[in-house]
Amino acid sequence: MKQRHTLLEKDGAQSVVASLVSIVIGLLVGSILILVVGAFSANLGMASAWEGIRLVFFGIFSTGRNAAGALTWGFNPQSIGNMLFRATPLILTGLSVAVAFKTGLFNIGAPGQYLMSTMVTLAIALGIPADAMPKILLWLLAFLGGMLAGALWGCIPGLVKAFLNINEVLACIMTNWIAANLVTWFFDANKVFQNTVENTKSGYVYMTAYGKTMVDGAWTYVKGNGVQTAKLGLDKLFPGSQINAGILVAVLMAIGVYILMTKTTLGYELKACGSNRHAARYAGVNDKRNIVLSMAIAGALSGAGAALYYLSGNTEFFWSTYQSLPATGFNGIPVALLAANNPIAVIFTGIFMSMLNIVGLQLTNLTAYNEYITDVIISVIVYLSAFSLVIKMIISSRRKQKAAVEAAPAAPAAAPLSGTEAPPEPDRPEETDAVEEKGGERV
C-alpha cells in the first residue's frame, strides 16, 4: 500500500491532478452556463443546449452538420491544423509567464510585451523592401527584432522591481497600457503600414505576406511578395488550415527553456531567487540582475509568440488597440498555471487552450451560442488555479503531518491512528487512473 500512494505524493502528479480537476470543473461550468441559457431562452431550447455541450467537450472533432442538420463528428484536419497554429503564441506567452513565475514574479505584462513585439516585427517585415535581402534573412530579422522589443519592454517592470522594489504586477499593468497606446500611435502616425490594398478592411496593418516592392518606380505593397513562415509541408498534412513551422519553433523554444531552467547555472539562480530572494542573495546570487534577466527572458518569449503569429503571413493586426489588450497575452497566464510552470507541460496546455479557442469558433459557426463561452471556461480555470496551489499545499502538509505521526517511535497511539486514516487511501490511486485516461484522451 505504501508503494501505491507514492505516485500522488510526487509533486508533478499532484499538479497534473490539480490541473485536470480545474479543466473538468471549467468545462462543467461552461456546460451548466449553456444549459441554463438554453433552458431560459425562448429561441434556443434544450436540444441546442445539448449540441452546445457536446461541442464544448468534443468540438475539435466536429466536422460540421450533415444535410439533415445533425452534428457530424470525425477527424477535422482544418480544425487540428488551426489549433496547432493558434497554439504557437499561446505556448510562448505561457512560457513567458512560467519563467517569471519560477523567479517569483507574476508577469501580467505579457500583453504589453506581445504588442511591442507585434509593432517591431511588422515594422521590420513590412518596412524593409522584400528584394533588399533574402526573405529568410528578413524573416529572421523581424523575428529577432520582435523578441528584442519584447525583452526590452519586459525589462522595465524587472528594473523597477529589482532596484526600486515596486510591485511588478502594478508596473506590468502600467507598461501594458503604455504599450497599447504606443502601438496605436505608431501605426496611426505611419500610414504606410495601413492596409489600403484591400479596401474592404479598415484599421488593419498589411499581412506580412504583402511585401514592399519597386513597381514602376514606386514602392508598393504587393501580395505574395513578402515574408512568411515556412510551411514545411505541414499544410499538406492539415489541408485548409493556417499551420506553419511556427509551432515547431515554439516547441523547440519550450525545450530550450526547460534546459535553461533545469540544466544551467542561470536557471538554478533564477529559481533560487524565486524560492527566496534574500537567501539567494546571501548565497552570493546577484538577485537584482536575475530579476531583470528573468523579466527580459519572459518578455523575449512573449515577443517571440507575437512575431511567430504575425509573421505567418496570413494574420492581420488591428492596430487601433489602445482600448483593449490582446487576449493571447493574458491567456498565457492560464497556460502557465495549468502547466504548473513546467516548460514541457506548457506545450500541452498551450495546445489545450487553443483547442478551446477552436471549440469556441465551432460553437459560433454551428450553434446559436458563441465563442465567449470558452473564455468563461478559461477564466474559471484561472480562478481555480489561484487556489489549486493552496489545496496542493494543504494535501502535502497533511501527508507530512501523517508521515510524522507514523514515523514517530512506535507509540501505542500511533497504531490506531494510522488504522483510522487508512480507509480514504484506496480511493486515491483510482483517482489517478481515471485522470490518466482523461489525459490520454486529451492529447
Partner: protein, 343 residues
C-alpha cells in the same frame, strides 16, 4: 470651459469612485485587481436592468409624459442594482482570497477574464451583436438633466456655475461625489473604518484585539465590489451612451493607477481622478476644446497627439511609483492571506 469641466467630471467621477473601491479592498488587506472586471459586470447588469425596465409600459409612459422624477428614480435603481451585482461578483474574489487563502493577484486576474467573457456571451445571445444598448432612446434623452428638466426656459442663462453644474449633467455624477465623501468619512472617522484599516496594516494585532479579520476583509471587498459595479454602470451611462460592450476601455486599471497616484488617500484620489479625467477628456476631444472661449483652439494648436494624453496617466503613475516607493502609504499587509496560526 464649461464643456471642459463637464467632460472632465464625466470621466473623473467613475474613476474616483472605482479608485475608492480599490482603497476599501486594499485597506482591508485584499488587492483588488478585479476592478476592471467588476466594472464590466456592473455596467452590463445596469444596462440590462434599464433595458428590461423599458419593456414595462409604465416606464415608457413616464418617458413620454416626461415624468423626470420617475426616470431619475430608474437611474438610481439601476445604479443600485449594478452595485448589488458588483458586490455579489466580488464575493468570488473574497471567497478565494479570504477563505481559501488563494493568490489574490491571480484571483483578480481570473475575474478580469471572466467578466468580459460572461458579459459578451450573454450580450451576444440577448442582442445578436456585441453591444447591448437600451431598448429604445438614448442615455441623453432618458437620463440627462437639462435646463428644461429643472423647469427653466430653454434659453435661460443660469450663469457660469448654473450652466456648468445644472445643464446637461447626470444625477449619477453627483450621487457618486456624495457617496465618495460619505464613504471616505466612514473609512477614516468611524470605528468600523479604523477596524477595517487595521486589518490591512497588521491583521494579527487586529485579531488579538477581537476584530474578526475575515469578516472585515469580506466587508472591505464587498464594499469595493459594490462601488466598482456602480462605477461601471455610471461609466457606461455617462460616457458610453448606456451601452454594454464587454469592456470599459481600461478604466478599472486606470482607477488602480489613480489609487496609487493618490497614495491610497481619498483627498489625493479625488485630485488624481480629476487630473486623469482631464487627460482622458483632452485625449477624447482636444481639437474641439476652446478653453477660455476666445475662438482659439489652444490644445489643437499645440499639436500633441491624443495618444500621448491617453498614455500620460500610466506613465505618470509609473514615475510616481518609482519616486515614492520608499514612502508609499500602501497598506502593509495587502496581498498577504491572513492565517490565524501565523505569528
Amino acid at each position: 470651459m464649461t464643456f471642459l469641466i463637464q467632460q472632465t467630471l464625466l470621466y473623473a467621477v467613475p474613476l474616483m469612485i472605482v479608485a475608492l473601491a480599490g482603497v476599501f479592498a486594499e485597506r482591508s488587506g485584499i488587492i483588488n485587481l478585479a476592478l476592471e472586471g467588476i466594472m464590466i459586470f456592473g455596467a452590463f447588469v445596469g444596462v440590462l436592468f434599464v433595458r428590461l425596465m423599458q419593456g414595462n409600459p409604465a416606464i415608457m409612459g413616464a418617458f413620454s409624459a416626461k415624468q423626470w422624477v420617475t426616470l431619475q428614480g430608474l437611474e438610481l435603481l439601476a445604479m443600485l442594482v449594478a452595485a448589488v451585482f458588483g458586490a455579489l461578483f466580488s464575493l468570488l474574489l473574497s471567497f478565494a482570497s479570504v477563505n481559501l487563502r488563494a493568490d489574490q493577484t491571480i484571483g483578480g486576474t481570473a475575474l478580469n477574464l471572466m467578466a468580459p467573457a460572461l458579459v459578451l456571451f450573454l450580450v451576444r445571445i440577448i442582442s445578436n451583436q456585441n453591444t447591448l444598448q437600451m431598448a429604445s432612446g438614448d442615455a441623453a434623452s432618458w437620463f440627462m438633466i437639462k435646463k428644461t428638466t429643472l423647469g427653466f426656459d430653454r434659453k435661460a442663462d443660469l450663469g457660469f456655475l448654473g450652466n456648468t453644474l445644472l445643464h446637461q449633467v447626470y444625477l449619477a455624477t453627483y450621487i457618486c461625489i456624495i457617496l465618495f465623501v460619505v464613504l471616505s468619512i466612514l473609512l477614516y472617522k468611524t470605528k468600523f473604518g479604523l477596524r477595517l484599516r487595521s486589518c490591512g496594516e497588521n491583521p494579527q494585532a487586529a485579531d488579538s484585539l477581537g476584530i474578526n479579520v475575515y469578516k472585515m476583509r469580506y466587508a472591505g471587498t464587498t464594499i469595493s465590489g459594490a462601488l466598482a459595479g456602480m462605477g461601471g454602470f455610471v461609466y457606461a451611462l455617462t460616457t458610453a451612451n448606456c451601452a454594454s460592450t464587454g469592456d470599459v476601455a481600461g478604466f478599472g486599471f486606470l482607477a488602480l493607477a489613480v489609487m496609487i497616484f493618490g497614495n491610497w488617500k481619498p483627498g489625493n484620489i479625488a485630485g488624481a481622478a480629476l487630473i486623469f479625467g482631464l487627460f482622458k477628456c483632452v485625449a477624447a476631444s482636444y481639437p474641439s476644446i476652446d478653453i477660455n472661449g476666445d475662438g482659439v483652439y489652444l490644445l489643437a494648436e499645440l499639436g500633441i497627439s491624443s495618444h500621448l494624453y491617453r498614455m500620460l496617466p500610466y506613465i505618470i503613475t509609473l514615475v510616481v511609483l518609482a519616486f515614492t516607493s520608499k514612502k508609499s502609504r500602501a497598506p502593509k499587509a495587502e496581498g498577504i492571506p491572513y492565517d490565524k496560526g501565523q505569528r
